[in-house]
């Protein structure tokens, strides 16, 4: 039985709550010890040094480029950020070497080390076929081909920083948004904390797909004050993944929160200033009764980081995640090269940290352990410098993207037209919800439910979550019965964490799932501003089309019910302004079903707007499970020749009523329903305008700055000579939705407003 009824009794027994203890700096072994214990091979030990050298050499190149002091790129001007992580190499390399090549990471604006390390570790573990696909032209021994792949990796990383077409993201991402999905690198993130919920979503997808993989979020001390990161900690630790609700699949999220605590946000100090704990690892205790298997680790010791990461990854693979590792490390440079550091910390502090430099320390260990001689180290340094220089020189000379391609990769052309066989297998845990037609008609609500049901039956990558969507069926009962049909694996209640709801969906979409998430009231979408606007909308483009963000965000508009300012907003115009998103707003049951199905099959992030005023409206809805309506196709809902109403959302009903009333005057009004704002079908609108010459554009949006203005701008530009009168606008008044019924009636547009606007120009 998927439904679960709580039976929580009052229990006020006197007691003390223990927060347990968190181990810190437990690793004490040397490399010699590790080699002796066969925890690491000599080869691997040398690789750790080489990767740290590559990272440092790469970042020192950025510093030198800024003053023209990198001879390999003489004459090349680097434009872009200089957020170097010099000093933190042990964190990046140790962590990436502690997880498997196919595991996932997300990184930060200071993420060159993470990106370089993840690639190097993955490339060294690749088989011949995988290597060939990266460097098809390379020849020689397997070792030589691997070497070519490493150089290619540095080249593509540098090319991305330099904004070149050969970069990992085709120059669309750059230093702060570099991603390489082929090695599980789900992207650096210029929003502090932005990558953490994405990794959390990826971890959830790993759990769902049962692929045995782990997701690691690298993020700094600054991020652990950020709301969405705290939401992510809570998200990852939810009981429902491991307790009786998980039924046969008790498996904690395979998620490792790797805090790269370099003790400074931009300049804000985690210690003594902007946090209240000495060890950020304490955060783990706040979200998980088991403290998430947290540890504090010496982040200047690559072996300590590697060992802790191996342990955490193993726990995750056993279903005992999530884990949290606080890696204490240090950033030698300032936030960027323009930060002199002396305003907020002492030189003595910097000197003390440089005395425990991860490269120097590990070099001493590797010589002491006889894994490499001093000469061997010098040769390795020279090899790394030469390889990096060759790659950087090539990157500096690589082709720039074409200006004409500035819009390329904004949207994906792909859809899930064909569902791979492994995803067609769908288990019905109990029974499908009954959706019955009356005279062939369905309500808008049931039309949505039927769309969800059909798409979940068609493709098991379609998963549904959001607040109260499971047993309760959602605040508006759209998902009622889907838990009974598909079980908690595919539809579950989320914490009230709108930002995490949306950003985890981005992470799971990056792994190929097709989440349909519910935000309840559209007002709450503003809580997910970063997730929708910076993450969902942008990753396809910023990754150079490497990422497909196939997700649907359902948001319901509450206007018209007397719910006041924070439960009544019509905000689609806000999101239509953000490139990378599609914005869809059906106004009839038929459109609700056809468009939701198309949205779910589309590979773009789609804001799917519903209206609570429409849930109970009825209309004919095709039963055909292959019935879909293309996005970006407006529909003439009523034909006329005298005036055009161009509308979307509930304004459609008002416009149709107005058309009825005008018919009494002998006026034949045409009503065009846009159905989606992005993509926008101006062709249908212009056809109507050219016919009638008079236009009223209407919606429930607050008038100023709304998408109505965009439609009007297009009409006047493309059909100026067809206009017989100034274009009229009918929107909500420029104010906040009032609770008072009287005031709300005055606030929202209605049929009379459409009639009046029409008469003014007829």
């Amino acid at each position: 039985m998927p439904n679960h009824l709580n039976d929580l009794r009052p229990d006020f027994t006197k007691r003390k709550i223990s927060c347990g203890s968190i181990p810190a700096y437990r690793f004490e072994a040397t490399l010699a010890d590790e080699l002796a214990a066969r925890h690491i091979t000599k080869r691997e030990a040398v690789n750790l040094l080489e990767d740290m050298l590559i990272v440092r050499e790469f970042e020192e190149m950025i510093v030198k480029l800024r003053s023209g002091a990198y001879p390999a790129c003489a004459g090349f001007e680097y434009r872009g950020p200089t957020h170097v992580s010099i000093g933190q190499e042990a964190c990046s390399v140790g962590a990436c070497s502690g997880i498997a090549a196919e595991d996932y990471i997300t990184s930060t604006h200071r993420g060159h080390g993470d990106s370089v390390a993840k690639g190097c570790v993955a490339i060294r573990q690749m088989n011949a076929a995988a290597l060939r696909s990266r460097v098809p032209d390379a020849t020689g021994t397997p070792g030589e081909i691997c070497e070519a792949a490493l150089e290619d990796h540095i080249f593509r990383t540098a090319a991305e920083l330099f904004g070149k077409e050969d970069g990992y993201c085709k120059g669309r991402g750059g230093s702060m948004h570099i991603a390489d999905f082929s090695v599980g690198h789900l992207g650096a993130n210029a929003i502090v904390g932005g990558g953490v919920p994405i990794a959390t979503g990826a971890a959830w997808a790993c759990r769902y797909l049962r692929n045995g993989r782990v997701a690691v979020s690298f993020a700094g001390d600054g991020a652990y004050s950020n709301g969405v990161v705290l939401e992510s900690l809570n998200w990852a630790a939810q009981h429902q993944f491991t307790n009786m609700l998980a039924k046969g699949h008790s498996y904690g999220l395979p998620m490792i929160f790797a805090i790269q605590n370099n003790h400074y946000g931009m300049t804000g100090r985690a210690d003594n200033e902007v946090a209240g704990v000495e060890f950020l690892a304490r955060r783990a205790a706040g979200f998980d009764d088991r403290n998430m298997h947290a540890e504090v680790v010496n982040g200047m010791d690559v072996l300590a980081v590697r060992e802790a990461m191996q342990r955490a990854a193993a726990l995750c693979r056993e279903g005992r995640g999530p884990c949290l590792l606080e890696l204490s490390t240090y950033r030698y440079y300032g936030h960027s090269l323009s930060d002199p550091r002396n305003e907020y910390r002492t030189r003595e502090e910097e000197t003390a940290w440089k005395e425990v430099d991860p490269l120097e320390r590990y070099t001493r260990e590797i010589v002491a352990a006889r894994a490499l001689t001093r000469k061997g180290v010098e040769a390795l340094v020279e090899k790394v410098q030469a390889r990096n220089a060759r790659a950087a020189a090539r990157a500096a000379k690589a082709l720039e993207p074409k200006p004409a391609d500035v819009l390329k990769y904004l949207y994906s052309d792909l859809t899930s037209a064909v569902v791979p066989a492994e995803f067609q297998k769908v288990e019905i845990v109990r029974e499908k919800p009954a959706i019955t037609r009356t005279n062939g008609q369905l309500t808008y609500r049931d039309a949505l439910k039927e769309a969800l049901l059909e798409e979940m039956l068609r493709d098991n990558r379609v998963v549904v979550y959001g607040e109260d969507v499971a047993e309760y069926g959602g605040a508006f009962k759209v998902t009622k019965g889907l838990l009974e049909a598909f079980g908690r694996e595919r539809i579950f209640n989320s914490p009230i964490s709108e930002a995490a709801i949306c950003s985890t969906a981005v992470g799971s979409a990056m792994l190929g799932l097709r989440p349909v998430i519910e935000l309840m009231y559209m007002d709450f979408a503003l809580m997910s501003g970063d997730a929708i606007g910076n993450q969902a909308a942008k990753w396809h483009y910023m990754s150079g089309a490497k990422a497909e963000i196939a997700m649907v965000i359902r948001a319901s508009v509450g206007g018209g019910k007397g719910y006041g300012g924070q439960h009544s907003q019509t905000l689609e115009s806000v999101f239509a302004h953000i490139p990378g998103l599609y914005v869809v707003y059906p106004a009839t049951p038929r459109d609700a079903k056809g468009l939701l199905k198309t949205a779910i099959r589309d590979n773009n992030p789609i804001l799917f707007v519903e209206s609570q005023l429409l849930y109970m409206t009825k209309g004919e809805v095709p039963e055909d499970p292959e019935f879909t309506i293309p996005l970006g196709l407006a529909e003439v809902k009523r034909e006329g020749k005298d005036i055009s109403f161009v509308v979307w959302g509930p304004a459609l009903q008002d416009a149709l009523k107005a058309a009825d009333e005008l018919a009494g005057d002998g006026v034949e009004a045409e009503v065009v329903d846009l159905r989606s704002l992005i993509p926008l079908d101006m062709a249908t609108v212009l056809r109507s305008v050219r016919k009638t010459g008079k236009v009223v554009v209407g919606s429930q949006c607050v008038t100023t700055g709304s998408f109505m203005g965009e439609v009007i701008a297009n009409i006047q530009h493309d059909a100026f000579d067809a206009l017989d009168a100034p274009i009229q606008r009918v929107g909500a008044r420029d104010t906040i939705a009032p609770q008072s019924h009287v005031l709300e009636s005055a606030f929202l547009p209605n049929a009379a407003d459409f009639v009046a606007a029409a008469r003014a120009i007829l």
Binding site: T703, F720, D721, D724, A725, R733, A757
Partner: protein, 454 residues
């Protein structure tokens, strides 16, 4: 500092002058004395020289637009220098419509912090702090108030919507008004050849105003061409000036006319002899010289009045009405009384040539005290002329024609030239006019007067 270039005052009454052509391009080097641009004045197209050297960095008033005298039309400066932002001083300032939809926008500026209180009754945000009714703002003068759709329909129908009564807001002509107009004028029954319609569309001929001469009244290409030929064209500045000044003269000056016949036989003979000797005097030269002499003898005629006072002129500035293909100009021979016949000949010839080429300078076009209009070469028996404003008389000189005249009781054929003096009766009476024309006649008939001069 960029050097502003101003619109010069070159004509007599020019307040606004159109720039016909820029002779320098942006970025081109300009030397002192280089021609910068050409302007059209009432009398001629004039070249404007630069007083400054530099590079032309900005043209404020492009060719085809007019600017008032002393307005900045361009800037000279150093290469790369940025010209200051100057709004072209337009002859007709363009007034923008105030915005504001029915449901209104947010205030573009909040003038009064208490606006929420003052408008609290309606609970709405005011559209603009001081709402402008669109009707209160005048359109550009001469702009037809018509919707784009109605304009497009009129254009596609090849009709001129200017006369249509508009039924839309503020009297705007909307589509249905155009349709009603078409119906009322029987547009449906109009028959027109495709070629004619294409030409009409191209030339914007209102086909409702064209009478068809084809079979059954069908409008043919020739009909459109005829309409095009008849279509009013704006008067040139020169014609407008002629119209204004001569109308003013006819309306304010009481003209009367005195004609005498001059026997040119002896003078023509003298001229032939002079020509044989290589001196190429024209008949006009003698007429001008005779006028100058007569004017010096009759200062009343070499005078002007504003209706209140009379002013006698000490010098004779002789206006020479000269025909051009596009009109008429009156170049002036200054201090004509000081010139010998030879000098007069040269001056008249040079002025006439420059007048024909449109190269006269403003000072050569103003200040005459008496004008001669000579149509001798145009085969006219007699005509009268209209006095140039500011003068007291004008002499109309007709062709010299073989004419039977009585001489010593016999009829003989003599080369007779009629001259008619038009006089301003406020300054000149009949007897004075008669004496004056006869003085000219006498001088022209008395060759002894000229033999020494040539």
């Amino acid at each position: 500092m960029a050097q502003p270039i101003l619109m010069p005052k070159l004509g007599q009454s020019d307040e606004v002058a159109p720039i016909v052509k820029w002779r320098k391009r942006i970025g081109e080097t300009v030397n002192k004395g280089d021609i910068l641009f050409e302007i059209e004045t009432e009398k001629a197209v004039l070249e404007v020289e630069s007083f400054f050297a530099g590079r032309l960095i900005k043209i404020v008033v492009p060719a085809g637009q007019a600017a008032p005298v002393n307005a900045t039309v361009a800037f000279l400066g150093k290469p790369g220098e940025k010209a200051p932002e100057v709004a072209a001083a337009a002859a007709h300032p363009v007034v923008e419509h105030g915005a504001g939809g029915r449901h209104g926008g947010r205030p573009s500026r909040v003038e009064n912090k208490d606006y929420a209180l003052s408008s609290g009754g309606s609970g709405s945000v005011p559209t603009v702090a001081a709402p402008l009714a669109a009707t209160a703002v005048p359109l550009k003068p001469g702009r037809l108030l018509i919707s784009p759709r109605a304009r497009a329909l009129a254009s596609a129908s090849c009709i001129d919507p200017a006369g249509i009564a508009g039924s839309g807001p503020d009297g705007r002509i909307v589509e249905k008004d155009v349709r009603a107009h078409l119906e009322a004028r029987g547009y449906d029954k109009l028959r027109i050849s495709p070629a004619a319609k294409a030409l009409a569309a191209q030339q914007k001929v209102d086909i409702l105003s064209v009478t068809g001469t084809g079979e059954g009244g069908r409008i043919m290409t020739e009909d459109i061409q005829r309409a095009l030929a008849e279509r009013p064209k704006p008067l040139t500045l020169m014609r407008q000036t002629i119209a204004r000044r001569l109308t003013q003269s006819v309306v304010t000056t009481p003209h009367f006319y005195v004609t005498v016949s001059v026997d040119m036989g002896d003078l023509l003979k003298l001229r032939q002899e002079a020509k044989a000797r290589g001196s190429d005097y024209s008949v006009t030269d003698f007429i001008l010289a005779a006028c100058i002499m007569a004017l010096q003898e009759a200062p009343e005629v070499n005078s002007s009045t504003d209706g209140q006072s009379v002013r006698w002129h000490a010098s004779v500035h002789l206006g020479l009405a000269t025909s051009r293909p596009d009109g008429l100009v009156v170049p002036v021979i200054r201090d004509a009384q000081k010139l010998t016949l030879a000098e007069l000949h040269q001056a008249a010839k040079a002025l006439a040539a420059r007048a024909r080429d449109g190269k006269l300078l403003p000072e050569e076009l103003s200040g005459s005290t008496f004008t001669v209009s000579n149509m001798g070469m145009l085969n006219v028996e007699n005509f009268t002329a209209i006095i140039n404003p500011g003068e007291s008389a004008i002499l109309a000189v007709s062709s010299t024609l073989p004419t039977p005249v009585a001489r010593d009781g016999n009829v003989v054929v003599r080369p007779i030239m009629k001259i008619t003096l038009a006089s301003d009766h406020r300054l000149v009476d009949g007897a004075m006019a008669a004496r004056f024309v006869n003085a000219i006649k006498t001088k022209l008939e008395d060759v002894s007067l000229w033999t020494r001069s040539i």
